[in-house]
Symmetry: C2
Subunit: 142 residues, 2 copies
């Protein structure tokens, strides 16, 4: 976790990007939160520490990280774009269609679909995304 932060900082420096307090806070929030926050949520939290910060700054940093491949967008059927802190271990998203919570689940069966797909379609496959939709335990009671 600490390592991930260090790695991100190094990655930014290597691109001649500056580590401002706002960016550092955003990086920490992205890494620590396992809830895949949206830009608006990140902005809300960031504003607790930097009352004058703006949504534009959040978007600019997110776009920067996206361009570096360090963050992934999860555009999610019901509204805003959420961000996945580039959790480097492969995982599945489990999305509650009621409370909109997104959880990560480590891969249970590592499918070697990739090789099969390449053989079958000729695509050069660079990434993938597995999402499951359902009702989380907490929402099932309601």
């Amino acid at each position: 976790m600490e390592d991930r932060l260090e790695a991100l900082i190094a990655r930014l420096r290597e691109q001649d990007c500056r580590i401002t307090p706002q960016r550092l806070a955003l990086l920490e929030m992205l890494i620590e939160s396992d809830e895949h926050p949206s830009a608006a949520e990140l902005y809300e939290r960031l504003r607790a520490r930097f009352p004058t910060t703006s949504l534009a700054t959040v978007y600019k940093t997110l776009n920067l990280l996206k361009a570096l491949g360090e963050v992934t967008e999860i555009s999610f059927s019901d509204g805003d774009t959420h961000y996945d802190a580039g959790n480097p271990t492969p995982h599945i998203h489990l999305i509650c269609t009621q409370c909109h919570r997104i959880s990560d689940v480590p891969f249970i069966t590592a499918p070697n679909l990739t090789a099969e797909l390449t053989a079958q379609t000729g695509y050069h496959i660079t990434g993938h995304r597995f999402d499951f939709y359902g009702i989380c335990p907490a929402c099932q009671g309601k």
Copy 2:
């Protein structure tokens, strides 16, 4: 294919929804096209037959179908929302990150991840979505 159209029409009627010429055309376009069009693309094509139609009508119909669970949104990292005509056979999306084409691939290995996930997380799983990203054969030469 014909059956699917019949089924959709029946479904709409059952909800006291009217089958207008515009809707019928939209349904046909959704079912026939395997390219997962966006609202704007659907509007463009619809306008060829109904020059005075509006984007609002397209959105209203898509939202109706979405609410009925007959159409799925694929919000796709680079721009608009695309629509999947609720192709009833399970399939994988293969998305070219260069030309943005989305292809359907039938499930090769039907993973029974669902049961495993339910056992492990307590979620009541209702759906899923597998997307692979890569470069399609046509774009690899460029």
